[in-house]
Every structure is written in C-alpha cells, then in structure tokens.
Amino acid sequence: MIRVTRSAVIDAPIERVWAVLRDFNGHTAWHPVVAESEIEGGEPSDQIGCVRRFTLRDGNHIREQLLALSDRDHVSTYCILDASVPLRRYVATLQLKRVTDGERTFWHWQSTFDAPPGRERELADMVGTGVYEGGFQGLRAYLRRARHAPDRPTASRPLAAGQTVPAQGVVVSAFGGPEVLRLQPLPARPPGPGEVRIRQTAVGVNYMDVYVRSGHYRLIEPPAVLGMEAAGVVVDVGDGVAHVLPGDRVAYACAPPGAYVGARTMPADQIVVLPDDVDEETAAALMLKGMTAAYLLHRTHRVRAGETILVHAAAGGVGLFLCQWARALGARVIGTVSSEDKARLARANGCELPLVGRDYRFASAVKAATNGRGADVIYDGLGRAAMEENLEALALCGHWVSYGQASGPLSPIGPEVLAAKSLTLSRPVLFHYTAERAALNEIAQQTFEALRAGVIRVERRHRYPLASAAEAHRDLEARRTSGPLVLLP
C-alpha cells in the first residue's frame, strides 16, 4: 500500500476555497492537468455516489466516484473506479481547515493505493507532484483571477429573502430601428437554483444586437431585453452554484439576450470570473469579440505562421482582434475596410494590406498580393455580398470561415462549388464552442492571456450611458465607430 500526502496553505478564506473544491466536476476550471470532465448520468456534482469521468491533458482517462462530502468538516473522499493509469484501490481524501489568524486555508490531500511492481515510485510521484502539487498551484492561479471584495458577504447569506435589486434596462418594444429601444425599470429578482445575480457595471454592444433588434435574428419576442455580453460584480448566487461567489468580478458572453440592464439574474454556467488585471469595462468590450477571435484563430482554423489570411471588416470589433492576434501568430494579414481612416487603424493593428472599398470587390487585389495564389483562410463576417469574391480570393484547399453575415445570409452553396478548389466552408457560432464550461474557461483564459501579453488590445472604445443605447446602435449601423462600444448602466 502506497500512501501519498501533500498539503499547502492557500491565501483565501476557507469558504472561498471550499466553494471551488466541493464541486466534484469543477476541476477543469482550476486543475491544470484536467482537460475535460463530466458527471455521468447528469447527476448533481455534490451527490454522494456520483461518478466523474475525465481526461487528463496527457490523454489518460479516469473515472472517480464521490464517496463522502461534508460541508461542515470541509472533507471530500473519492475513489478511482477505473483508469488508464494503473492506480489500484486508490482512495483519496481532501480536507480543508481554517487558519484562524488570517484569511488563509490549510489544505490536506492524502491517498492510498497499490501500483504494479516497479512502478510505485513513478505513480506516487505522478499523484503527489502532478495531481496534488499541480492542483495547489492551479487553485492559487484560479483564485488570483478573482479579486476579493473586502466586504464580501458569504454565499450562504444573501440579501433579504426575496428582495429584488432595483435596476433599469433597455427593452426592444417591437422589431424595428434604433427608435424601438426603450429604457424602463427592470429589477433583478433573487437567483434560483443554478443562477447568479450580477450588478452590471459595463455592457458590450455587438452588431448581433442590431440583428436581434430588427428581428433579423429571432432570438427574442418583443418586448424583451437586448444584449449578449456584460461584466459586473456578483450580488448573490442560488443553490448549487460553486464556481462564483458574491463579490466576484465576473463577465459573460452568451445567449439568450438580456444584457442591457443594470442588474441581471441569469444561469451561472456561462459566467467567467475575471482575473485581477482585467477591469469590467475592458471585459465587456472584450468577452464576445475576443473569445470569437480566440476560437476562430485557434479552433475553427488553427492559424499557423506563414499562412495568408483575409479579414473582412478588419477595423471592426472582431476584425481588429483577428488582425492583432493573427499577426502575432506569424500569419500575413490582408483586410477589407470601408474607409481610409479604417485602413490606417487596421494597418496599425497588424493588417499588412488593408483594401479600401464599399463594393465588395477584393479578390483580384488579394490574388495580386499573393502572386495569384489567394488567401489560405478568409474570416468573413460579411455574408451574402462577398460570396463570389470570397470563392475567387481563396487559395486551393483554402478555408472559408463564415462567422457573420452583415450584408445578409449566404445563399445555398453546393458541394461542387467547394470541389472547384477543394475548399472548406465553416459556419461557426461562438456559443457552440463555449457551451461546455471547460471549453468556455479555456477560451476565456486564452483571451485574457492574449490581453495580458499585449497580443490583443482594447485601446479605443466608445462609451455610452445605458439610456443612450439607441444612439450607440445608430453609430454602429452608420459605421461611425471603430473598436468596441460599451454601455455604462
């Protein structure tokens, strides 16, 4: 029988640490070696007997069962049911204890198991160093990302029961132009199970909001609130929410619409805790567009150094991020923009060749700039009006990534059209890439990391009071803005 013990002191109150560790399925958010995890059978992740099935970054698979969980003693015990590593009869107990002379927590992690002869040392090291010590570091990094409000109320002590938070919101009274947006009182109700209530300090405006307002995207039925992106501070959380606590600074970019409000109660699963170094206004300007750039460049197509990419609307919200980030990845960036001003802006952000025009004619210029070869990837938020030119501008075996349709939806495309150049067509949607919490966290962290490293930048931003949402929409539709728009409740 091998016994492995590791322990550490975490610089956070025990309630904060326990809220993270008690979630048997939460380890993807904080443990650096865990890649993906799910609870079998959709059981709650604090149900004794529930089984988590997860994969490690090294490819190993493990199934573990929760044997005991005590919120009073801060103890969690679990065992391995089966695993692709030969850890036999593995039972582990994790316990937290309060350090009473400071806001700190003692974390004790111990397991016993058997290993095949000759592999004892290797496996003890994997568990002790890779899993336990790696976990300590991972949790510390995870907590650092959340700034601790000095007067943080505890999760178990919400406002008064049933108390609403007064706030105002912007409602689409009927499908139509910017004039249909109305400001009205919209108090936020207390959070139910799985929900969180956020006092919002900044709301992101996206072109998608225009489509929703006009009825082009049928995501709401008026009267309803607009907006897919915001940041703020958590007021309180409902039962079963462990990954955020009251006082956490958070942000989100997700459907359904409802972000144009001063306070919002919503499902907690799409909420991301902000790192200390990302302020809320930046987050509201960044989440949807930055995460879009992240998945487009790293997941839909993995951009490599030396590739030539064409970015439409290169001075737009997503466009600028695509230019900055793709350039940092070593790609050559060509862009389309609607004015000389925007061309200068795109060029300053990594776009080597901004093509100016409002006529959707760019294929010959792209070909000319690539010795007739064309672009390896096209990031296309334009849609219908650029279809033919996109096909023309792509290189053989090129990838057309259609992530938006500002000029209208694409008409049907037959496979033979793609076969003409062995093209690939992707029609990705951010919310599918972020549907799983683990993936959401990964994409969000990747975005914050790019911001931190200066790879993407949010320098110029347009601020409006929440009550002036209609004006923001007018400016956005008239192409008077470049860079993100933020509403301030």
Binding site: T5, R6, S7, T100, F106
Partner: protein
C-alpha cells in the same frame, strides 16, 4: 460544554516545532506568559499521566495532566486539574501537521470545557486569543525565517 479553536501557520518544519511543543515542562521556554514550570514527582516530561505545575507571570498557578502524546502524529492532549480560571472538564489538544508545500507547519490548538454560562464569551476569548494565539505568535517569532 464550549469549544475553542485556534490555528496558525509556523514558518518551520513540523519536526522542529514539535521539539518545542512536546516538552510538557517547556512552557517557560516558548510562551510569553509562563514564568516557571516543574513536573510533579520528578517524572519524565513525556510520560503519560505526568502533571506539570506552572506559575503564570501574573501570579496564577495551574496544574495540568498529560493525557496523550504522539511523536508520530505530532499531537498531545492534556487536562486542567487546578486553575484560577474557573473552568471544569477542560481538555485541550495541540496538534501539528506538516505543510509539504514550503516545509511549514499547520498548528491547531483546541479545547473543550465547562464554565458558568455568563463567563463563556470571556473565557473563550481569554483562552483562544490570550493563550493559544499568543503562544502561536511567540512560536512564529521564534521560528521566523
């Protein structure tokens, strides 16, 4: 029955701290409030059942009996036989746990006792802060790296 609990982190390996703690006759050497101490009947200070008889710097006399001592678990338990504090059925445990990350020590000190109801708050404060935390602070200073 009321319970008092205090815990702290000492910046030294648990075995070093334990050498100090395990000497049941050693309070004058590391706490700021004990003036002198002796083991009654000339017994070894690590014999279960031995009684330490010590005088506080404020003049009070206390007799405590060692109930358990484990060098394996870095833990000892003792009871108060006589004291001026007005507590009954007082049993305390002092336990050290190694913090493998950084080679430090997690120290826990807890006590359970009975007393007059109106004195519970005062005694919990006096024991938790005045005794346990004060002693932890002394250990922290002693082992400061």
């Amino acid at each position: 029955m009321i319970k008092v609990y205090a815990s702290s982190v000492i910046d030294a390996p648990a075995d070093s701290v334990w050498v100090r703690i395990r000497d049941f006759n050693g309070l004058p050497g590391w706490t700021p409030f004990v003036a002198e101490s002796r083991i009654e009947g000339g017994q070894p200070a690590d014999r279960i059942g031995c009684v330490r008889n010590f005088r506080l710097k404020d003049g009070g006399m206390i007799r405590e009996q060692l109930l358990t001592l484990s060098d394996y678990d870095f833990q000892c338990t003792y009871s108060i036989l006589e004291s001026p504090m007005g507590v009954e059925n007082y049993v305390a445990t002092l336990k050290l746990t190694p913090v493998t990350d950084g080679g430090r020590t997690f120290a826990e000190w807890s006590a359970e006792f009975d007393c007059a109801p109106e004195r519970e708050g005062e005694l919990a404060q006096q024991i938790g802060q005045g005794v346990f935390q004060t002693a932890f602070d002394a250990l922290k200073t002693m082992f400061r790296r």
